[in-house]
């Protein structure tokens, strides 16, 4: 195999790994960063997004719209969950984590009981292209781009919108924000809905290239957790990017050179080393290096 093919193949795999890490973690890290809450039902939100996408597609709705519906549906479910459940656990982060774990059990097994194990997969769009001996899926590259686009959208939302301003104020100091007239409860509901909505879109996007069943989202959960732990919740966008880029690199290289199992092991070991060396998350560490560089 020639060098070009090898490089293209490796880059493609890196992009693919990154896409999964970004999509699996983005909803989780938005909620964690803004509210401190780990949503253990993140995988189930992806499942909801995937289910709605599949149902919409087979109801004759165009694929892009079906994915958007998946995101909206999961977002609405998230807002309802926030109103009914999460709200009761403000300030009790471990309790909210356990409660959402219970929710995850109910949703995955409930989906199984109600809808059965059989959800029709949606065909993968776009076809494939070849480089040298290998052929690749356009769609997988598309979801990588979508992963980046979602991250950029989140950044823009928090940087430029009124909601983002209020959300950042709330994140920094909820009581101060309240004093300044921000409806903190509404911000929390919307933030949670945004997080689950992102998970839903991610679920819908991945559904076009995966098996969909009640436990579909759980597959991605461990990777999403590692991404969040390494990224830290302080800087949502840069944390997520720094974490996904480094973890994805570790995983891709080890997976390519050794095997898949060790790829996963290497990610965990890397994560443990990172937290031992930079407990406040990789983004904080990176930023500190950067500011030191500036100073010097």
């Amino acid at each position: 195999m020639d060098t070009l093919t090898f490089i293209v193949s490796l880059l493609y795999q890196y992009a693919d790994t990154l896409a999964l890490l970004l999509l699996a973690a983005i909803g989780l890290i938005v909620i964690f960063g803004m509210m401190g809450v780990i949503n253990m039902a993140n995988g189930e939100m992806m499942m909801i997004g995937a289910y709605i996408t599949s149902f919409s597609y087979y109801a004759g709705i165009p694929t892009p719209l079906a994915v958007i519906f998946g995101g909206l549906g999961a977002g609405l479910v998230g807002i309802v969950i926030e109103l009914l459940i999460i709200r009761r656990f403000y300030g009790q982060l471990l309790a909210s984590l356990v409660a959402t774990w219970g929710l995850s059990l109910i949703m995955s097994q409930g989906a199984y009981l109600l809808l059965g194990p059989l959800i029709k997969s949606v065909p993968t769009p776009f076809g494939s292209f070849g480089v040298g001996d290998l052929s690749f899926s356009y769609y997988r590259i598309f979801i990588f781009a979508m992963g980046l686009a979602l991250v950029a959208a989140v950044w823009a939302l928090f940087a430029f919108s009124r909601f983002g301003l209020h959300a950042r104020a709330t994140m920094e100091d909820p009581s101060m924000a309240r004093a300044l007239g921000v409806d903190v409860k509404r911000i929390y509901s919307l933030t949670f809905g945004l997080g689950t909505g992102l998970a839903g879109v991610a679920g819908g996007l991945l559904a076009l290239t995966s098996t969909i069943g009640p436990f579909y989202g759980q597959t991605y959960t461990p990777q999403a957790f590692i991404t969040v732990v390494v990224g830290g919740g302080a800087e949502i966008v840069s944390g997520l990017l720094a974490s996904a880029l480094s973890l994805g690199l570790v995983k891709t290289v080890v997976m390519n050179q050794v095997n898949i199992l060790l790829g996963h092991v290497a990610m965990l070991v890397f994560a443990l080393v990172v937290i031992r060396m930079m407990p406040s998350g990789i983004s904080d560490w990176v930023e500190r290096r950067r500011s030191q560089g500036r100073r010097a």
């Binding site: 997969s121 065909p123 993968t124 290998l134 769609y139 597959t219 095997n259 898949i260 199992l261």
Partner: protein, 424 residues
């Protein structure tokens, strides 16, 4: 200083404690023991929740169908058959506990439990220790020689050896193995090595996939790089099925053979075509199996449960197991274990939905009518070759004869000196 008046709260807490303890202690003490003229109890532990529910649920339907059919004709030895069903929850420990319950509490006459090799071993160990007949009713890695254990599913010499031989003849010698990274996948991979050695194949790549792995970019590239003539896939569980749509999207579909996909997980019904085009399956049973017997069986099963999405190989295996037990009890004239085992070892046959099966007394496995199916671009099954009636011969070549000599072990391909040279 520490004076504290009594409170109802503490009384209550303690009362709850006592109540639960007493309740547990007394639970079930008054259960009636099964009388000899009561129903004959068949214990079935199948996963109706958790990871394996999708493929295992149809198995229960097989039991129900056979029991209904037999009871409608008056039962066995004048007694009705009764299914004692428990949900194994895709959980190995649960299988162990529930088998204990079936045997010690429900006092069943036979245990049929476990789909995965791990759940099978958990349940089987309990049954064997308690000297109760045990059936495993789906395809497996084979090799178990045990006085109390019986098998209805196809085993490697029926599926892998014949399947790989067919694929080599049709597509050429080079194959790539993708296997789930656990017992079943690893043993199947070794059997594939054996098949390649026996039939002039060449293994150009081999990859073990952790259970639950969901993305296959690296694997797809590896397969393409190796340029195999065909693939041999032992992929298990929802996440691993992702390989198929992802490979299809990358335009990297190759003809492939599998012993678990299609016949258990009916992927051809669940994925939009043509993701599984050119998938070859050496099978004992698919819902699409030709013939009147199969049609009758499908109809019967659908009457029992109209909602079952697919009648799979496990439905057929469960169905056969109950019928063979009924025949054995009938022949033994009793449900006593040793007499029943003697009857099971007396050369039983049964007209199964796919054709006649014969229970080999020496190995406790079935001679099965195997067929090779191909999934076409519309995801229909085409029968491309009739593989004929294949005996469970491998254990016999190792000298196993359970009629003459008891065994209690599992032979694995690496225990066979003739195959040592095929291993890497």
């Amino acid at each position: 200083m520490h004076e504290r008046p009594l409170s109802f709260r503490r009384w209550l807490g303690a009362g709850v404690a006592l109540g639960i303890a007493a309740g547990l202690a007394l639970a079930g003490t008054g259960q009636a023991r099964a009388a000899d003229d009561g129903p004959i109890k068949i214990c079935a532990i199948d996963d109706h929740s958790g990871d394996f529910a999708l493929i295992v649920k149809p198995k229960t339907l097989g039991y129900q169908t056979a029991i209904k059919e037999i009871n409608d004709k008056g039962g066995v030895l004048g007694r009705k058959l009764e299914l004692v069903f428990y949900d194994g929850q895709s959980d190995v420990k649960r299988h162990q506990e529930l088998t204990e319950k079936c045997i010690l509490d429900d006092e069943v006459n036979v245990v049929m439990a476990g789909a995965t090799s791990s759940a099978r071993e958990a349940a089987r160990a309990v049954a064997v220790k308690n000297k109760v007949i045990y059936w495993h009713n789906n395809q497996g890695e084979g090799g178990i020689a045990d006085h109390y254990s019986f098998f209805t599913g196809p085993i490697p010499e029926q599926q892998i050896l014949t399947g790989v031989e067919y694929m080599i003849k049709k597509f050429g010698p080079k194959m790539y193995i993708l296997a789930a990274d656990y017992g079943f996948g690893q043993v199947s991979a070794i059997w594939t090595h054996v098949a390649a050695g026996l039939y002039g194949g060449e293994i150009v790549g081999e990859e073990f996939i952790p259970l639950g792995n969901a993305d296959y970019a690296a694997t797809i590239a590896n397969v393409q790089k190796a340029k195999p003539d065909f693939g041999v896939f032992y992929l298990v569980g929802g996440a691993q099925y992702n390989y198929y749509p992802q490979a299809a999207a990358a335009g990297a579909t190759i003809p492939a053979m599998s012993t678990v996909n299609i016949q258990q997980g009916y992927e051809h019904k669940r994925y939009p075509p043509p993701a599984l085009k050119d998938m070859y399956v050496p099978f004992a049973y698919l819902e699409e199996t030709p013939g009147d017997a199969a049609a009758r069986f499908n109809k019967m099963a659908r009457e029992v449960n109209p909602d079952e999405p697919y009648i799979n190989e496990m439905t057929r295996a469960g169905y056969i197991a109950v019928h063979l037990m009924a025949l054995a009890w009938q022949r033994a004239g009793t449900t006593e274990t040793e007499e029943t085992i003697k009857a099971l070892q007396s050369g039983l046959f049964f007209d199964a939905p796919e054709g006649r099966v014969f229970l080999d007394p020496a190995t406790h496995h079935l001679t099965i009518h195997m067929r090779m199916g191909r999934i076409n671009e519309k995801h229909e099954v085409e029968i491309v070759e009739d593989l004929g009636f294949i005996e469970p011969w491998w254990l016999r070549t190792l000298g196993v004869n359970l009629v003459a000599k008891d065994e209690a072990r599992q032979f694995l391909p690496w225990d066979d000196p003739r195959y040592a040279k095929y291993k890497k």
